[in-house]
Symmetry: D2
Subunit: 427 residues, 4 copies
């Protein structure tokens, strides 16, 4: 049962959809890597300005913040992330990305919104538009936060350090959402830990190069790296309990320049996940132990170099705020479309906003795929194969009703906290 206020604010959604679809397609075709989202930021800022927000750009390098001061009441922060990934799109969509960019190491790489941040940005742009258009129905201060560099580069912390909370004070509530490989129209959340802690490492294994025909004069970094990769599998298979979720992924591995030259070094990038910060530390310790010992086994000339690229703690929803928001979602979407979220092994720096402000935050998931296809795939045990997950080059959400649902969730969440200007009770 949608509240009357919510109904009023959402009444212009239908009219806004064509513009949101155009925005989504535009962002999808122009993906930008962490801290280089300048085109994206400009477009989002332009729309906020049109909608009457006070707009701050360059917050956290390429972040954008819209402030709508709308009378007495709490400050609610709605957050979307906006960066893309170095993935080569293979969706076959008419509006698939063919963009390329330069990564931190100076390499030319393909770009894709493979994690759906284009959808996140579109949702928040839409919700900001509707809440601004319907501002007579609520009172308080709305912060629309478009965060750069969520993919491992610490954009949330960068915005906080860069004075985010100086723009309109500390928020009272922080909300955020993520598109997920579930049925479009579904909203999923849970109290407590919803997303994993994560750490990314860059490990350089030092060998000794030489001619490919004389391996006995070298310490072959390819073989050393291969042995490390297989040994790292045992951290999850043997060193963590079955009931203690953990992931160790070697996402990239680069060695050598030619078939007949043995290189000096191998570089691995490793990503770990757990739902408990202590487990994450144990994964780190095991990785260190293994790469060091493997280097000795290979007679390496020196120990590996291990750099921490980034580390995110668990994303934990405030229990009370989560329960209250779930009630609001149930009232709006119905119990059939408001489901308990599983703990997901993805990780986020969304939690940084609530932590830094010392206020409750809630994060939820919004399905983005053909319900029939998802349910058939689940029933037939083909979900993992048939529904490309976030970060896949084939990640391709459907536009409808996905666009609509994610706008509604943000509006419902904001209005669950904003009082009605007339009554002073929740909108």
């Amino acid at each position: 049962m949608t509240t009357e206020t919510t109904g009023r604010v959402l009444s212009s959604l239908e009219a806004a959809l064509p513009g949101l679809e155009a925005l989504y397609v535009d962002l999808h075709q122009h993906p930008e890597l962490a801290f280089t989202e300048t085109r994206t930021a400009a477009e989002l800022a332009r729309r906020l300005t049109e909608d009457g927000f006070e707009v701050h750009t360059g917050i956290g390098r390429t972040g954008v913040v819209g402030v709508l001061r709308n009378g007495e009441g709490p400050t609610v922060l709605l957050r979307a992330d906006i960066d893309a990934l170095p993935v080569e799109e293979q969706t076959g969509l008419a509006y698939a990305s063919t963009a390329r960019g330069v990564d931190d190491d100076g390499n030319d790489v393909p770009l894709m919104h493979a994690c759906g941040h284009d959808m996140h940005a579109t949702w928040l742009s839409g919700a900001a538009h509707l809440l601004a258009a319907g501002r007579e129905a609520w009172s308080g201060t709305l912060l629309a936060v478009f965060q750069p560099a969520e993919e491992g580069s610490g954009g949330a912390a960068a915005m906080v350090r860069d004075g985010l909370f100086d723009l309109a004070g500390r928020p009272d509530f922080v909300f955020g959402q993520h598109i997920a490989p579930g049925p479009a129209g579904w909203v999923l959340t849970r109290p407590g830990v919803i997303m994993a802690a994560a750490e990314s490492l860059r490990i350089t294994l030092h060998g000794r190069g030489g001619h490919g025909s004389r391996p006995e004069t070298t310490v072959d970094p390819v073989v050393l790296a291969a042995s490390v990769v297989l040994k790292l599998q045992t951290v999850v298979s043997r060193e963590t309990a079955a009931t203690e979720p953990a992931v160790v992924t070697v996402g990239s591995l680069h060695v050598g320049t030619a078939a007949n030259v043995i290189a000096d070094d191998a570089v691995l990038e490793v990503n770990t996940r757990a739902f408990d910060d202590g487990v994450l530390q144990r994964l780190h310790a095991a990785i260190e132990r293994i790469v060091n010992a493997e280097a000795v086994a290979a007679d390496a000339p020196k120990p590996p170099t291990i750099e921490v690229l980034n580390a995110y703690p668990v994303t934990a929803n405030d229990e009370a705020a989560s329960d209250e928001l779930t009630e609001a979602f149930r009232a709006h979407f119905g119990a059939d479309a408001t489901l308990p979220a599983p703990q997901v092994t993805g990780s986020e720096d969304f939690g940084e906003f609530g932590r830094a402000a010392g206020v409750p935050s809630v994060f939820w998931l919004v399905g983005g795929f053909d319900p029939q296809q998802v349910i058939t795939a689940m029933t037939e045990g083909r979900f993992e194969k048939d529904v490309p997950s976030n970060h896949s080059p084939r990640f391709a959400p459907i536009l409808h009703p996905t666009l609509r649902t994610g706008v509604e969730t943000l509006v419902v969440a904001a209005l669950s906290r904003f009082p009605h200007p007339a009554t002073g009770r929740p909108a």
Copy 2:
């Protein structure tokens, strides 16, 4: 006992050395990849022209041929290769290379003459100069062949296809040499197989990408590649007899772009060696069997793609020509400095010239390192560690007497076949 003729031709070597040293340093500082050796070719052509050769450029794209028609007599082909490698120099030499270039895949890579082709080119330039200056001491036709793209790209075959033998007819004898990690001043050769057959493969292992936190939705190409690399070690350790030399090297391995994204594919470049073409074929078959089965073990969505980048047969010296040349070397350098070469696992496309012409060819090795250091290292069992081999980023030949020795070998070889114009007997 050096022949009088040889002595006469070599009499101007002392005066030529400063110029050769300058040429060597210049080439060393300007390494160029296969089929892009345009600066190198221009400089070598300029010197040939100065020395009175008829000069042909662009033979085999970037090859250079100097023809010196000097009366009746046989045609002798002296060959040097001129291409560099994508290796980052770490010699610490004052004249170390800092050059970079673009490889076949469009990547920006460091460049180095890590295989000593700069020395080869300098030697042949010097020998051509001396033989031209001393042309009254011999008669016949001299072909100075500067071959591009020896490192796996088939430059020899390209020159032959491009009409090399149309310039001055087929040669009667073909000679070539390589700098090796032995004592400077030493010359080593052998009848029969002197260098290995080799093949280079590019293998693409197809997985299925996804988010790093959800490996169960993917087929992880990093783990598949690691398993392939370790399994390939068994081809040599278990599938070839101990007395049947073979090498399988994975020189490069590239997967993925980020720690938290599982990529679709892994690309390996593999190089194999053997002293018998049949063994090389068995290595190829074993590699095919392993990569295909490993892909099945990993539940890969499709079989690996295997491309042959290049394949060189064994380099075999004509028995009689080799014995005769060894005699000439012994007479000139003394028995102490003329040694039997081991079979070396390196490979070459030098053999292509003799094979295509249907005439005898001989290939030999010239030491390029401090004799004291080499002998101490060998005695103490530290040779492999202390003397950086060809293709190492620390490969750093000493200039003297290396420059001199390699010029002398070519002059001795040529004059062993050219008659004296007065007597008609060997020069």
Copy 3:
């Protein structure tokens, strides 16, 4: 708050303890493998007879059943398992086992009660004694079931097939318990799945033997087995979700008889676990895929042979019966000592009794270790290292209060279902 009836039945426990301790030590020193527990069965039968039970031996080959018909009322089945393991005891206990036996393959092996079935049998013997002694306090029929061959050999199913339910009809409730590495005095249970589904496989990898010096004439089963073992680690690390508990353990691996002979075959025994029967099937499928493909990769002369040694489904507690029993435990032991059990990855064939009878069953865990040591170890994160788990050669429960607690649990469970003969209400 212990009920009066329970208090009365337990009033003779103190006097019975010395005899139970003697029984435990005797069983501990005389471990017997699955289906060979003849000495154990004889001693347990002797005690049941002394206590006035109608005794049936040879039920399920070496199982023992005591029936006590004690008037109107439900039939309650209490079950203990009695078989030992082929493990060499390393506890250093004064009463450590030095026994040996012959396993199914005819090998002479060390024996140990490394899973605590000696404690289980002692508990049930004690509870049977007390319930018989206190029979005036309750009415109904008590079945004391000593099951053989729990460790992977299907003893529960064997007893059912062998007519267990013909002895005194189908039970109305089935109860069982297991000693666990928790603090002595604690009782832990949960509704729903409490123990994992499991499957054990024997996999024979076929190679081709030969002389150790000529591996090229063979297909080396040691290398094949090693590759399989490492690849099997990826089933958990890459093919199951982090939130989907699964275990794949290769418990035994045997190849060859001499250093210098390459054997024909390798034999692995693999054990898998999951809390969902569908996941267990996926593990099976992945193992089959991997061992078959690895055999192809190794050029094996024929595919591996895979035998299912045994397969147990999940152990699931009836929700209502579990809740009621938890209440009874809380009343007797207090809330501090009655805790929610985690799902444990161990598996059991206890569930077979309830399933076959079509009645509710509940299974729980009883701690058996020094509480101070367990809690210190947990606090310091050293639990896994300091508290030897079931199946460890160092598994050494403390006798007190462990002996007492496990007798009390069975008495409380039985009396929670037996009415008082006078009142007809729960005892």
Copy 4:
């Protein structure tokens, strides 16, 4: 051209063959492990006694020596080894072994003469018989030495320590032979190193056992062993030059007793080979480095235990004696059947006799397989697959002419050193 003397001595071979065939079949059906060859020794001693030899038993525990003092002249030692292997015969021969025995670890194992020592013993028994029968044709002292425990247990050294050379003084020449997978009727030898140096190690990897469902409480020795086995493959594939023959074989690997119990330890037996004692030492050092580092990588509670089971140096033939013997073989068998031996990677303790006596020794190989089958297999590149090598469970020499050839070789070798009593010149 067989000498007249040789012809005379061999004239009774035809008559002796049925008895030799019976001896061979009897020995084949009664294989005995190292230092337990009591039945074998008794039968061989009985025959020597019948033939008039002075017989010494128990030399080197189970060795047998026959001495025939036959006048002036040199002492010639002919040696055969007599021990069998723990291999289960799969030849399908009518006279296949079904014997079993107890190995050093107390295990019951199948037994087979899988290395042909039954043939060696039969050959020497036959040659001793013929030389005794024809003693009027030569003069000198013949030592027929039946050595126990060649397969890694140091039987040769045991005989020397036990006073072998006190029985009839030091020999002047030592001869020995081995059956090989070549055409029956062929004899192969070479001056210098003919067989490899070898070492056998027993390596115990220490893990920490526990329940198969809780790997996180353990250090799994199966996974550790698998990782060690794969890493050991790199010693040959990466750490030895292609031109430097080396073999590292893990012949046996044993861990655990049940699918669902993780064991404490894994035991590997490793055998190494090289044609150079320095290379063998490098293999040893690499193995030590790898197993120690792998234990650290696995977080093992203590370092592995490494025991040297045995170590044999290279078997090197005296150059002059080898050349002279080759001449004698050519004269007798013809040049077509007397071939240069390859270096074989098998190893032997035969060299111990010559080394200890300080006299020349020569060792050679005798083919034992159907020539047509061997040559077809070689031609079609199926030799490794079609001709089961020594130590294979399918090793099955043909009896004719194998039996005859190996008797003739010993007679020819002995007579090449014994003078004719009349002339004093070589018999």
